[in-house]
């Protein structure tokens, strides 16, 4: 395999077909640790997120049935599920998430947690407004649920040697990255679809920020004084709009140039921090950094932790 790659690099072999090249990239071996650390991070975040969403689930369960506007996997349900059932599932969700984060009985807890997150977050989005910010977390959980994500860094630890790097550990991580990239690309595309390239001029963004903050102000919710002050000026909005489009439409660069990954992740994080500052809109998944974890060689951090744990073991010479 290495020989074939080398001969292609030197121009002696046939050039790979685009699909072959893509498959080769997606299925390239990766360490089990990388996927396992990603599982721990995403599931731990998911468990905490479901704890934070619990009050909203309870509030939603008391809404009148005529407001029920099911989306996604709940579209088949003409009426909302019974409140006790829903609150029971919402209570079990964070515990399942904790078990999945630890890798405990992963083959059961991984898919069960992903399914619970899918159903609960679909449920809270089935009352007249879809919050797109929650999609990425669920998509990541679903990919991880179908992967051998607890072959390393699981509790209790598996007996025997650590598994060798393999394509089955690399593919899910790359699929998670691909989904992250697609969500940003779609967000950028949606802006251009609704407003064309005029969006890059900044006026649309300026009015969007003003409208969003005003809506919060008149509905008695916290709004951003920074955004409120900034909308008085025209000049900041063109660079902010261009930066937004650059982050969103530029997301696919991380699929091609590995060295740009930290830069893009930093820019995307900065974009969400900016949205928080000027719109008082909080995107917890990207702002936690977990949404971008698949872009990094997580096994290095895992190896460091392992060394620290070994050094701290009692009776070991220092």
């Amino acid at each position: 395999m290495r020989g074939a790659t080398a001969s292609r690099r030197h121009g002696t072999g046939p050039a790979p077909r685009p699909l072959e090249a893509l498959a080769g990239r997606l299925l390239a071996p990766a360490p089990a640790d990388r996927l396992a650390v990603l599982r721990a991070l995403v599931c731990a975040f998911g468990a905490l997120y479901l704890v934070g969403r619990f009050p909203h689930v309870v509030d939603s369960a008391a809404l009148p049935a005529h407001r029920w506007d099911p989306v996604g996997v709940l579209r088949l349900f003409d009426a909302p599920p019974p409140a006790p059932l829903l609150i029971g599932v919402a209570s079990a969700g964070p515990l399942l998430g904790l078990a999945a984060a630890l890798g405990w009985r992963w083959r059961a807890t991984g898919p069960a947690f992903a399914l619970v997150a899918l159903v609960l977050l679909t449920y809270v989005n089935s009352w007249g407004q879809v919050l797109h910010t929650e999609h990425l977390l669920v998509l990541h959980l679903l990919v991880l649920a179908a992967a051998p994500a607890a072959d390393a860094w699981a509790w209790p630890a598996r007996p025997g040697p650590r598994p060798a790097p393999a394509g089955r550990y690399g593919f899910p991580v790359r699929l998670v990255t691909l989904l992250t990239v697609l969500t940003y690309l779609l967000a950028g595309w949606a802006k251009l679809r609704t407003s064309g390239w005029a969006w890059a001029g900044g006026e649309v963004l300026r009015h969007q920020v003003a409208h969003d903050n005003l809506r919060k102000a008149v509905l008695g919710s916290p709004w951003s004084p920074v955004g409120g002050a900034l909308v008085a000026y025209g000049w900041p909005w063109r660079p902010l709009a261009l930066a937004t489009l650059l982050v969103e439409l530029g997301a696919p660069v991380v699929l091609v140039w590995r060295r740009l990954r930290p830069w893009w992740a930093g820019a995307a994080w900065g974009f969400h921090a900016g949205v928080l500052v000027v719109m008082a809109v909080f995107f917890p998944y990207p702002l936690s950094g977990v949404a971008f974890a698949s872009l990094f060689p997580l096994e290095h951090g895992a190896a460091r932790l392992r060394r620290v744990a070994r050094a701290a073991r009692p009776g070991r010479p220092r």
Binding site: P55, D59, R67, Q129, L214, R215, K216, L219, G220, A232
Partner: protein, 111 residues
Amino acid sequence: MVSVEADGTVHRLSPQTINGTAEIVQAAAVVSAEVAAGNAARLCREVAARLAPAPRAGPAHGQAGVVAGAGAGAVRRVEVVTETYDAVAWFAGERRPQRRVVHADCPVGRR
């Protein structure tokens, strides 16, 4: 949506009062959808029922906490309104709506 007290004081209602959850975007979407579907009166009655004091709860100020920014005055009416603003000008101090349409108006009674 707003509540109107006996002395005419108007208070904007919180997402929790309007829709029963703290999600502001959802509350705004519900009001828009109900107005567009011609159900403003139904929404008005629902919110008025949420604001109505319980039979043995004493004076109306027992419910005042759920009305964002409301004082201790008795809420008499609920209105479903569309107010049109120049959003950029609003932050420059122009707080009067350019247009105000009342879609529904209903009394707040006792439960």
